[in-house]
């Protein structure tokens, strides 16, 4: 998995590509844990994320919980496979997902 990030004015934009699974989830977790204190706005672009497992969901849920306390979190451009996992698990309801029209 590749993580691309851009941080300015308390907004962190992260773009994920590849697989967010048990192996790669800790990388994202570490990235986010280091940023929570400085940001109020978290945007995660999943347009290039092909794969997500429950390990990834765990990170997203934790992130959602953190950001709910001090700002907001938006998920953008969710691919079909990932969207399906979100739908199955009810994550579509608890995450703020912005899809391109």
């Amino acid at each position: 998995m590749e993580i691309t990030k851009k941080q300015e004015n308390g907004t962190l934009e992260i773009a994920l590509s590849g697989r967010l699974d048990t192996t790669t989830a800790p990388l994202l977790e570490a990235e986010l844990n280091g940023a929570y204190t400085e940001i109020t706005n978290l945007v995660i672009d999943l347009s290039k994320l092909a794969y997500i497992s429950s390990a990834g969901l765990r990170i997203l849920l934790a992130a959602q919980k953190q950001m709910s306390k001090k700002g907001k979190m938006v998920i953008r451009n969710v691919g079909t496979n990932v969207k399906e996992v979100f739908d199955i698990t009810g994550f579509s309801d608890i995450l703020t997902i912005e899809q391109p029209l």
């Binding site: 699974d21 192996t23 497992s53 765990r58 496979n81 698990t89 009810g90």
Partner: protein, 689 residues
């Protein structure tokens, strides 16, 4: 074996009281011969006595006739008398004087026949008679006859001339209408048979002019008659002998021929066929009989050859059916197979077959050719070979039957059709693909349930109609499942009250004996059928094949072991994705399976072994339009499916992260199955495409 020995043995085998035809004919012929001989001789001797007198008369008659010939009597030369002398034509025969007696013809006759003969002239000449009287010693009377020529012998053999005839005799002759008289008279102490014939003047019966006479002593005549009789007997006996010998030879030949035929038949009876044909030189019924025997030997030889070839054909047929069990020892833990065929006649039309198509597919065939005997067996062999060849080529049972049917319809003129059930079983996945050409529904036992019949609608029989398309059916078998293929010889076995064995009895037997091995089961059913039919003759071939699926084949290619450690995840993912790609898994399903596999693997890695780390075996096998992935570990027994599903309706703040992975698995997979056997957690997920 030589003919003599055969004949000897047959003599030994003869029943008490045997009497040969030869002896019968011999004895009866002998009796007949003796009777016939006696009768003939008696008749002959009787008639001989009767003809004795006749013989004498004939002899005398003949000699007088010859004498007349000798004298030269004819139409032109007739007897006449003038001037006291007797003439024949112009020739003077005699006038009673010695000088004029013409003796030559009489002497020649006497010389030729031994008979004495003379001619007498009727005379009234007393002088002559007196002269004669002086010579002879008899009185005479007028109007009687004087001997004028001829030969007569006296008691000492002297030739007498000029004798005259006794009046008694003369009167007798003249009174006799025929002018012929035979008289036995004593001439000088010898009894002489004499024959007299009247001579008339130029044939005029009213004018007797003389007598011609001949005679022979009774003694000599009897000798002649005796000789004649002897000749008669001799001829008769020779005739009889010739007939007897001929008849005997004839009967002997017939008997010899009959014996030859008898010996030949006995030889044939022992089962040994003579190389040389039986040759009898008789063109009669016996000759025909020998010909028939030769023909019989020919056709018996032919029959023997056919019987031998038929038994060879039976052997070939028997060997065509795989009959070594266990048939596939290398697969002994995966499946067991057992089959039998009991033909109703020597050679049957049923067959079964099974063969591996590759290292994980086995073909199972059962078929029944309509009809029995050699024609059915020939069709059976062709069907068996064609089905096997086509199955090895195409591996799709519907295609196989479609093609084989086409080939049959193109070539077969026999009108024999074939019912076939053809299944191809995947030992890895348990997928059974089958097609049915008019065959009985196989019985199947699935997932621990009772037996049922695979009643998918069958297609038409093979060789039934050109262009028939056969359909494919699929069913998944699991380890522990059992399949029985059989022919209608099983369900249509009939008892003495014409009840059929039937599917119900078969199913009941199968259910009760579910624990039997394949071999025990088949022999058990066979015994059960025999018990049912009791003493009714088996009229159809009985053929059965049992297939026991014991264990999935674990293919090396699709199974890999991993350490139960999350660090192994990339390898697990790579293995699964590459295997799924091989199976042409759609991208979406691939992603779902990949996620599910990760969840399960991570679950095992995290929880199964506690502190100690061990392995996970992952195997992938194709399903009917899908795929299954199996995870096996020897960790603590743990059924992830038994865990409570997370509440996905809660708000983010309240959500627990645990249990989500297995939840995703359950939601995205079509089937998730957990088992704990042999100290193994076995979790199988199945996804259909």
């Amino acid at each position: 074996m030589s003919t003599e020995k055969t004949a000897d043995r047959n003599k030994d085998k003869r029943k008490k009281g045997f009497i040969s035809i030869g002896r019968k004919v011999g004895v009866s012929s002998l009796i007949c011969f003796i009777l016939l001989m006696s009768l003939s001789l008696w008749l002959l001797s009787d008639s001989m006595n009767k003809v004795e007198q006749k013989l004498i008369e004939n002899w005398l008659d003949t000699t007088i006739y010859l004498l007349r010939q000798e004298l030269g009597e004819s139409e032109e030369r007739q007897w006449s008398m003038h001037d006291g002398a007797l003439y024949l034509g112009d020739t003077l025969i005699g006038d009673g004087t010695k000088e004029h007696a013409n003796l030559d013809a009489f002497l020649r006759m006497e010389y030729a026949t031994g008979a004495l003969s003379y001619v007498l002239m009727r005379t009234n000449n007393d002088k002559e008679l007196q002269e004669l009287d002086a010579v002879g010693n008899k009185s005479y009377e007028q109007g009687h006859y004087i001997r004028i020529a001829g030969t007569t012998k006296g008691p000492n053999g002297e030739r007498l001339e000029g004798t005259y005839l006794d009046k008694v005799i003369a009167d007798g002759i003249e009174k006799d209408d025929d002018g012929v008289f035979i008289h036995l008279s004593n001439v000088y102490g010898r009894m002489i048979y004499c024959r007299y014939e009247m001579l008339y003047e130029k044939g005029d019966k009213s004018r007797p002019i003389g007598l011609i006479s001949n005679g022979m002593s009774e003694e000599e005549l009897m000798q002649l008659v005796k000789d004649q009789k002897k000749r008669g007997y001799a001829i008769f006996i020779v005739f009889l002998l010739v007939i007897s010998v001929g008849l005997g030879r004839f009967i002997f030949n017939i008997l010899r021929s009959i014996n030859k035929i008898r010996d030949r038949l006995c030889e044939i009876g022992t089962g040994e066929f003579p190389k040389e044909p039986l040759v009898l030189n008789s063109k009669d019924e016996i000759g025909e009989m020998a010909e028939s025997v030769n023909e019989m030997v020919k056709s018996l030889k032919e029959n023997q050859r056919i019987v031998a070839e038929l038994s060879l054909a039976t052997d070939i047929q028997r060997h065509m059916l795989p009959s070594e069990f266990p048939a596939f020892p290398e697969y002994s833990s995966e499946f067991d197979i057992y089959a039998m065929m009991n033909p109703a006649k020597e050679i049957g039309g049923d067959f079964y077959d099974f063969f591996m198509l590759d290292n994980k597919h086995i073909a199972l065939v059962i078929a029944d050719v309509a009809g029995k005997g050699v024609p059915a067996a020939l069709v059976m062999m062709i069907a068996k070979i064609m089905i096997k060849n086509q199955t090895l080529l195409s591996m799709q049972p519907d295609d196989v039957l479609t093609i084989v049917n086409q080939m049959f319809c193109e070539d077969s003129q026999s009108g024999l059709f074939v019912t076939v059930w053809l299944g191809i079983f995947n030992i890895e996945t348990g997928l059974l693909t089958f097609a049915n050409a008019g065959h009985n529904p196989p019985a199947i036992k699935l997932s621990g349930e009772d037996f049922s019949f695979l009643r998918n609608k069958p297609n038409l029989v093979l060789a039934g109609m050109e262009g028939t398309r056969y359909h494919k059916n699929e069913i998944i078998m699991h380890p522990g499942d059992r399949l029985l293929l059989y022919t209608d010889g099983v369900t249509e076995a009939t008892n003495e009250v014409t009840e059929l064995y039937g599917e119900a009895r078969l199913k009941s037997y199968l259910d009760i004996h579910a624990a039997d091995s394949a071999t025990e089961l088949i022999h058990g059913i066979r015994t059960d059928i025999d018990r049912f039919t009791h003493e009714t003759e088996q009229f159809d071939d009985i053929t059965m094949l049992v297939f026991d699926y014991k264990k999935r084949l674990e293919s090396n290619a699709a199974e890999q072991k991993f350490k139960a450690n999350t660090e192994e995840l990339p390898q697990v993912t790579e293995f699964i994705e590459s295997e799924l790609n091989k199976l042409n898994c759609p991208v979406h399903a691939l992603m779902q399976i990949s996620v599910a596999a990760e969840e399960i693997f991570v679950n095992i890695a995290k929880y199964a072994y506690g502190e100690t780390s061990s392995g996970v075996a992952i195997s992938i096998f194709p399903e009917k339009e899908g795929v299954s992935v199996c995870f096996k570990d020897r960790g603590l027994p743990f059924d992830p499916l038994a865990q409570k599903d997370p509440d996905i309706t809660l708000a983010a703040e309240s959500r627990q992260i645990g249990g989500l992975g297995i939840f995703i698995v359950k939601k995205t997979m079509d089937k998730v199955d957990y088992k704990y056997t042999n100290s193994q957690n076995i979790l199988t997920i199945t996804k259909f495409f």
